[in-house]
């Protein structure tokens, strides 16, 4: 008991941050607070202790955060942050909630039982009736929890996208033997992309059968003329280092995206942080550089260069702060030069997502490398003006944001089709569409 308490006190929590579109200001404050406290960010819910939800989403978002929450192992706590000012207090609160040993024990026991039920039902549900039966059993599982109906509860311990169909809704869908097409499964993909593994719901149950109560992937022709399993994986909106509100549904064979479909969760319409805050920013160039640094740190994180990404966040925070000289510190100039010189990074991003220059999207022209080099130009022009950062200061970084995002969104599906997953992520990061800059509409684009 005492040992447990001691370990709890010693451990530094890891946060899993989920940003609702329209909450960039909160995300920036959270990221800054986490960096200053030395709390790492988890890559997946399984590695997290604290779920940090930035902003107030609508119903679909709430369901999603619940499902992420269910994938976080105990001891855990969750916070929903609604204003940037509340960040430090709420993080403290989350940390102290983790220290409440008795509450954590209850939570752990409850979660364990739910997990056991889910696993059992998954392995027991070898046919439709069994699945339906277990659905009922699940509703009666012991242990109180605060969200949703039985429907949700079953979904809760199902960390994998369409699995809730597999173990639960199979009772409805399966009996009809009607292939569910992907758009319908959409919400579920979106909610649980973190744990991946979406088994194809279009599969023919007679042929493929089930494993562990879950439908198996269906095969399809791939680009090389082979027959390979098709995995339906949605990237976003709950994914670290991913633009808030963007959902990219991929059909993967191996790790090659055979087709891509894009959806934007535009619930806010409140305007982009990088545009709206512009009015009261004294220095437009500096603000633009902060936006570029934010995009660049995200690309660096996706490229697997975590320490450079952290320095990028630090610089971004300094650019947004009011201290005039902080961003010109030699360490930042050194950092930006090192990134620019990195052959390994260029080698990774060269030739990815090539966009032909037209009037519509001239800021996106070139390949991923060209795009991130332009970000470094922008930052360098502010951090080290004397060293000849060669671009026009205050370029349309903020003004053309909506147009650029629209162009990026229309191009994305065709750019990522045929690429492997790491290229897909790099392409998205290099375009870095700012969903908040769009008016509140749902946009769809499809390719494949």
């Amino acid at each position: 008991m005492e040992l447990t308490r001691l370990l709890l006190r010693l451990s530094v929590p890891r946060a899993f941050v989920f940003t609702v579109p329209g909450s960039t200001a909160i995300r920036l404050t959270v990221e800054r607070a986490l960096r200053e406290r030395g709390w790492a960010e988890a890559l997946s819910p399984a590695d997290a202790d604290i779920l940090v939800v930035c902003g107030d989403g609508q119903v679909a978002m709430k369901a999603m955060t619940d499902r992420v929450w269910d994938q976080i192992p105990s001891p855990r706590s969750r916070i929903r942050i609604l204003t940037p000012e509340a960040v430090p207090a709420q993080l403290d609160e989350a940390k102290s909630a983790l220290l409440d040993l008795d509450a954590m024990r209850i939570d752990a026991t409850t979660r364990e039982q739910e997990q056991a039920v889910a696993v059992e039902s998954a392995s027991g549900a070898m046919n439709m009736s069994a699945a339906a039966h277990d659905h009922a059993a699940m509703g009666g599982s012991p242990g109180g929890h605060d969200h949703g109906a039985d429907h949700d509860r079953a979904a809760m311990t199902m960390p994998v996208g369409d699995h809730d169909h597999g173990a639960m809704d199979m009772s409805d869908a399966g009996q009809e033997q009607a292939p569910m097409d992907m758009p319908e499964g959409g919400q579920d993909h979106a909610a649980t992309d973190m744990s991946g593994g979406d088994h194809d719901q279009g599969s023919d149950h007679d042929d493929m059968g089930m494993v562990g109560g879950l439908a198996m992937a269906r095969r399809g022709d791939d680009r090389d003329g082979l027959k390979l399993d098709q995995l339906h994986v949605a990237l976003g909106p709950v994914l670290p280092d991913w633009p808030a509100g963007l959902v990219l549904r991929l059909v993967l064979q191996g790790d090659i995206a055979q087709s891509a479909e894009l959806e934007v969760m535009g619930e806010n319409g409140g305007g982009s942080f990088w545009i709206s805050a512009d009015d009261d920013a004294t220095d437009e160039a500096r603000f633009g550089a902060a936006a570029a640094a934010d995009s660049l740190q995200r690309l660096l994180a996706v490229a697997g260069w975590r320490s450079a990404a952290l320095t990028g966040r630090w610089l971004r925070d300094e650019l947004l702060s009011s201290e005039p000289d902080a961003p010109s510190h030699p360490r930042f100039v050194r950092w930006i030069r090192r990134v620019r010189r990195s052959r390994a990074l260029r080698w990774s991003t060269n030739g990815l997502g090539i966009v032909d220059a037209t009037e519509l999207n001239k800021e996106l022209r070139g390949d991923a490398t060209a795009r991130w080099i332009r970000w470094t130009d922008e930052i360098l022009a502010v951090a080290a003006p004397s060293s000849g950062g060669s671009i026009a200061v205050g370029s349309s970084a903020t003004t053309g944001r909506a147009a650029r995002t629209r162009a990026a969104i229309s191009l994305l599906p065709s750019l990522v089709t045929g690429q492997d997953l790491s290229s897909v992520r790099l392409i998205v990061a290099s375009l870095d569409p700012d969903i908040e800059a769009l008016p509140s509409q749902v946009h769809l684009a499809r390719h494949g």
Binding site: L7, G38, A116, G212, L214, W305
Partner: protein
């Protein structure tokens, strides 16, 4: 200091653990410095992380192959400890077998199957992608690495690790076989999926093979990874850096110093380089590294034939 004997095993494992902790601590110190926070506290970070993982609940995903994933997880530290058996510390290794290099190579290959089992067993698309990335990475680094080990074996005329260390005399193999040495360092980082070769657990795939690991499972996995990295660095010392050779200080101190230096190089590489995409690494490996290491083996063989080595 160590002269064979079973009692040396726990001692060496502890030493390996200390080195691994140091590596993790140095890495997190560099990270803190880059993030603008105090690097002093960073030396306790790995310990705090252990405390966190010891308390964490184990994650069970419906439909996952729990047994497979757990065997894979445990295999990683076990393989590292088994590799340790042929490592000469002092004058002799714990089991100074005549085919020590082959044994080491066999143990190191276990990380292929370990990572793959963890990724596959997690029943997650991310895990699967990470696992398959690691297999591709294995295909890329393994052959050049074997050619560089062959060069070492041919040069020393033995596969016994102590004999290889002794055969280097005044000219260490790092000087006479630089390509092989470089390739060994690359492969050490690759089979410990470290730094530039960490695509198997990369952030672009939400943690890849390790996506679904939590609590003690993740702890064992990470410990295994650090042990792998440490044992690989320690192995480079007898193979390329003359083993315990060095002036003034006793032999074991030189082994420690050389190992620590190599570990520092690996941590540095992690912080200075982004992850190299598998696609690019495979290309590099088959088009450049493979011919170079073959050439290295050829040059060494010719030297041996004409009596220069």
């Amino acid at each position: 200091m160590v002269d064979g004997g079973l009692w040396a095993i726990p001692l060496l494992v502890v030493l390996l653990g200390v080195l691994g902790y140091g590596t993790a601590a140095y890495s997190s110190a560099l990270r803190s410095r880059g993030a603008g926070t105090s690097w002093v506290g960073a030396f306790g970070t790995p310990g705090r992380e252990v405390a966190r993982l010891l308390l964490g609940q184990r994650n069970i995903v419906p439909g996952s192959d729990v047994l497979l994933a757990r065997i894979g997880t445990a295999l990683l530290p076990l393989a590292a400890i088994m590799a340790l058996l042929v490592l000469p510390f002092g004058t002799r290794a714990i089991t100074d077998m005549s085919v020590g290099v082959v044994w080491f190579n066999a143990m190191e290959v276990f990380s292929w199957v370990a990572v793959w089992m963890v990724g596959w067993g997690s029943n997650s698309a991310w895990g699967l992608i990470g696992a398959n990335r690691f297999l591709a990475q294995g295909l890329a680094y393994e052959l050049p690495q074997m050619f560089s080990l062959i060069a070492v074996g041919v040069g020393a005329g033995s596969l016994n690790v102590s004999e290889i260390a002794a055969a280097q005399g005044t000219l260490w193999y790092v000087v006479s076989m630089p390509v092989a040495f470089l390739m060994f360092l690359i492969s050490a980082m690759a089979f410990a999926f470290w730094g530039p070769f960490s695509q198997a657990v990369a952030s672009d795939a939400a943690g890849g093979a390790a996506t679904q690991l939590s609590g003690v499972d993740r702890l064992v996995f990470l410990v295994g990874r650090y042990l792998m990295l440490t044992v690989a660095s320690a192995m480079a010392v007898p193979l390329f850096l003359g083993g315990d050779a060095g002036p003034l200080l006793p032999g074991w101190a030189w082994i420690l110093i050389k190992t620590v230096l190599l570990l520092a190089v690996m941590v540095w590489a992690r912080h200075r380089l982004p992850t190299i995409r598998i696609e690019r690494f495979t290309e590099l490996s088959w088009v450049i590294l493979m011919p170079l290491t073959l050439l290295q083996a050829l040059v060494v063989s010719i030297f041996v034939l004409i009596g220069w080595m």
